[in-house]
Symmetry: D2
Subunit: 349 residues, 4 copies
Amino acid sequence: MNFASDNAYGAHPAVVRALAECNDGAMMGYGDDPVTARAEAALRDLLQAPDAVIRFVATGTAANALVCAQLCPAGGRIYCHEDAHIETSECGAPEFFTHGGKLVTLPGEGGKIAPHVLADALRIGAGGGLNGGRNAMVSITNATEWGTVYSIDDVAALAETAHRAGLPLHMDGARFANAVAALEGSAADLTWRAGVDVLCLGGTKNGAMAAEAVVFFDPALAEGFDYRRKQSGHVFSKQRFLSAQMLALAEDGLWLDLARHANGLAARLAEGVLEAGGSLLVPVQSNAVFATIPAAAHGRAQEAGAIYHLWPDKSAEGLDPVPIRLVTSWNTPHADIERFLAALAGQQT
Amino acid sequence: MNFASDNAYGAHPAVVRALAECNDGAMMGYGDDPVTARAEAALRDLLQAPDAVIRFVATGTAANALVCAQLCPAGGRIYCHEDAHIETSECGAPEFFTHGGKLVTLPGEGGKIAPHVLADALRIGAGGGLNGGRNAMVSITNATEWGTVYSIDDVAALAETAHRAGLPLHMDGARFANAVAALEGSAADLTWRAGVDVLCLGGTKNGAMAAEAVVFFDPALAEGFDYRRKQSGHVFSKQRFLSAQMLALAEDGLWLDLARHANGLAARLAEGVLEAGGSLLVPVQSNAVFATIPAAAHGRAQEAGAIYHLWPDKSAEGLDPVPIRLVTSWNTPHADIERFLAALAGQQT
Amino acid sequence: MNFASDNAYGAHPAVVRALAECNDGAMMGYGDDPVTARAEAALRDLLQAPDAVIRFVATGTAANALVCAQLCPAGGRIYCHEDAHIETSECGAPEFFTHGGKLVTLPGEGGKIAPHVLADALRIGAGGGLNGGRNAMVSITNATEWGTVYSIDDVAALAETAHRAGLPLHMDGARFANAVAALEGSAADLTWRAGVDVLCLGGTKNGAMAAEAVVFFDPALAEGFDYRRKQSGHVFSKQRFLSAQMLALAEDGLWLDLARHANGLAARLAEGVLEAGGSLLVPVQSNAVFATIPAAAHGRAQEAGAIYHLWPDKSAEGLDPVPIRLVTSWNTPHADIERFLAALAGQQT
Amino acid sequence: MNFASDNAYGAHPAVVRALAECNDGAMMGYGDDPVTARAEAALRDLLQAPDAVIRFVATGTAANALVCAQLCPAGGRIYCHEDAHIETSECGAPEFFTHGGKLVTLPGEGGKIAPHVLADALRIGAGGGLNGGRNAMVSITNATEWGTVYSIDDVAALAETAHRAGLPLHMDGARFANAVAALEGSAADLTWRAGVDVLCLGGTKNGAMAAEAVVFFDPALAEGFDYRRKQSGHVFSKQRFLSAQMLALAEDGLWLDLARHANGLAARLAEGVLEAGGSLLVPVQSNAVFATIPAAAHGRAQEAGAIYHLWPDKSAEGLDPVPIRLVTSWNTPHADIERFLAALAGQQT
């Protein structure tokens, strides 16, 4: 019963199989191989973006931080939510890769930035002169760090706000599959058609071992990106193995199936939490549940061996009700959900 | 009538004279000269810190950012007030010099951090794991960006909080002279005796052309600092001219006299603002006045040619009352104050 | 017949198997898993270094550059061979990760630095003052970029020279297995017993998909290293998959068997090159052959479909004899060697 | 008798006077002042470059390294002479400001790069793929670190070579005045008319306290430069004092007069060195003399109190003849030259 993170589970069998299948024989290194070509093509199809430039890296932090470096010039300001992964969970990687980019954080319910909040911040930022730096880019996460989802209209409104200020819009899609699975509409609708300029499309949380795609919908934005990857140690010599993972997820809609599984389990968790007397801190829209549960229920769940994080951190220990975060993944067993909910509810199982 | 900033006025005649006086003859470069030796000694005296390592740079941004680089290792978190100069007004220099240090900003009335707010933030930061980074240093500004002043006890409480967490305390003293002038107690009392580990002692706003001192009270903290200065282009070949400026300010208490002048004018401004129907946003303790004034008074001041900033920015234009910032300097004329206050009050002058 | 690089072939079946075998169930992320613990222990055993701190990353560039960042402070000078991978083939990664470390390159036959050349350079570097920067570390590659091997005595002499100057010695061991396979003596003899302080032990060229180990023989040198890894995007959330690769190589001496295979093929290539009228540019000691071959032989090899690099680059095209580089790997087929040599020799096959 | 460096002497009286003269009254900070406007205009006139973007910083290292950052993107290669100041004497500043730019050093007699050497290097660099990085810029120094001077034709040939490869040409003109004084032809002839894209025009060695101009002949190349300056702490709040220095040098041809003085003294030194049995290591073309002198003459000079550097470093102590470097400046006294030469020659004075 591990609900600590969607990286707790391993890789989907199709991913492991894909590694074995592309293993034979010699290929040129550094991406000049047929597996990479197929994987890039598969993602362009998936995104209906025939001109997109696509590159693979192994971690979400690398993907996000490299994109920040690509889009944020010296003295630049990067606008993001105050709970954005790039702000809270990447150990300063965006600042490191950008050599001093300033993350300007915005409040917003459920991990979402409201367009008028962004617009106000951009206006203030534009007036900061040399001392304040210059507006450089906007970054949103979808699905968000709170498990909520920006709708296509939400994204379009933020993109319009960013573009009006002359800035590109980056989407951290570590859980992009979960966002698409949560919505009516295609991956294209949620990204370039809505105005997203660069997407980090996560494979790892979706069922890969370690693979993320960086997607530049406008090829001009990718200029020199490969040098950045190499200079930061993120070009694989045997790149076929990175590419094969993304290819396996992209084929036959596997990526969406896996995300739907995770989302479905989270919805079930949410129900059960409410039934056990808990309440939700934000609406459950993808694969994470932020809730408070009675301390007694928490105690029973712990006793039953459930693993999950108190929220936002261990200082929540001892509160009643207890705020917690539960995350489901592509491989979380149904049975674990039911066992956990039974424990919450104090039922025999 | 320029109240835009305390850098609006030039240099004190003694500073200019000092440059001319040390100009003759050949000296070795890069700080290996007798003027530098005397200036360093003078500041050690001023601070009653015979073991301190002292270095001069030309800008406050350089001083602060170099100290951050010195104290903040890879993945480090730097705690400061949300209105700190290093956060708002250095164009990302701390992030640039630290190669990705994360500025963690804290709220606090009047630009001051409260010890319990710091303690809470440090506790949370200590639990962030690799993703969150590691606590690295605490930075406070005195006098603050709001013109308020941390007392000796205030500083000691923050130093104790920082030290308990194993972190050094940096003081951005761009207006250090104004802080000392505002308090009972010596420069030593306000710094190392209260627990400050590194001080940036500002010369520029105090009456120099462009000179700041970086003071490491613990010489061990200065290890390798000269290489950082050089690598960032902040070592002067004809360093005597940097040193001479600080020496001139340190001699005969000139630095304090100039700060008292500025502080006194600000106090007078505050009185006049109140008399003209304005109100103070924070107590006036050094050389800055943050206030709101009636729009009519603002109009009259503008008409009379007064130069000052709306606060926090131009978006305040059109409000009634109008929030403004007034800064006085070592050389602001008494007459300008009176003329300005007369305009505010609608009096003939 | 691909002799372009030892990264042309995929991963050893045992590596692929290891990924599948550790795939089941939930584990904590970021290295807090049992597979990582076992892999670290296995490498400590392999190196007879029970106190070593060991960390895994996915690329050799990351491993080397992160170690440089760890060992080279601001304004530091990094001494290496002029053909070192960190100088020629990492796109500035060491400079990027160190934020401006200066690579000081030394000449030396066969890719090897002579101790007196190092000693002279360190002496000059020590006298460069602020402008020149400070000596920081020494980096050698074993096996070298020219396929030669530093003996245990060679390493000890360089280590002594570095240590006498107060500097740590780093070994880029992208082909460390090939070096050990080429020598009498253990991995311990060639590293910490000879004075190596930090080793990058390559897995990728040795038969992994993408895995390298960074080994700090002195745990004190590893302080804060994990933050660097994270800040540069080199911490894997599902780290078990990185660890499992290294574990598979370490078990049952597979790493050495694979290196012996590659070395043996290179020795056979060298013989055949000489038989075909070519000559060796440097002695063949590990898994690379640098040679000149008659233009006619080159033509026949090309026609037969052999893939290899002209050396140092394409400008060698048209020369007679032609300088070339041939690299063998853990999986290069014996039959390819013979077919290639037959083509060189102009024999029917 | 200080011939250690041209930064051994202070500032020209006109420079000191200029500081005093612009000291009165309040001005806006950060360059938005009339003195800066006049200084920029004066330099545009001096260079006959009405569209040039001109910015002032206080040190040559800052000027050069900021320009490198401006012209060298991620993974870039910067071509320069192996004795270039940016390579040998800036403590890694170019690598720091560029975040990992790779300095590719070229040999060349007398500190000068030959066009065919540059062309060959650029061709090789262009073929290095991701691993090698990408060609980014060419940097030359004029007058060179060996006191020689690139003629207008020399510069034009290098510019053509750089431009053919699509690269901009930077000129480190720390001693630009000495180069112009050494040649027939104007500052314009030696820079933009010959193809220089960015010039660092040195004031400090020429007679300023600490002032350098960065000149972008193509304004497009200056995009965002001010943010870089600010982010690295090189924007002065009271910028008038930086500008006034350059203005004083530019007015009435003072800069050229001072350079001619220095060059003339060096020519006289060269004569005297030869008369005393020494020989020149390179032709004396500006204000530096690289020579070997008999050990006895060296002994007499030392005894007489002359200060100069052995070359390339102290290891030359004890050689006979002794290699030395002598540098003259805007303010080196004629009498010192004669006294030094008399000592060399063993004459009574």
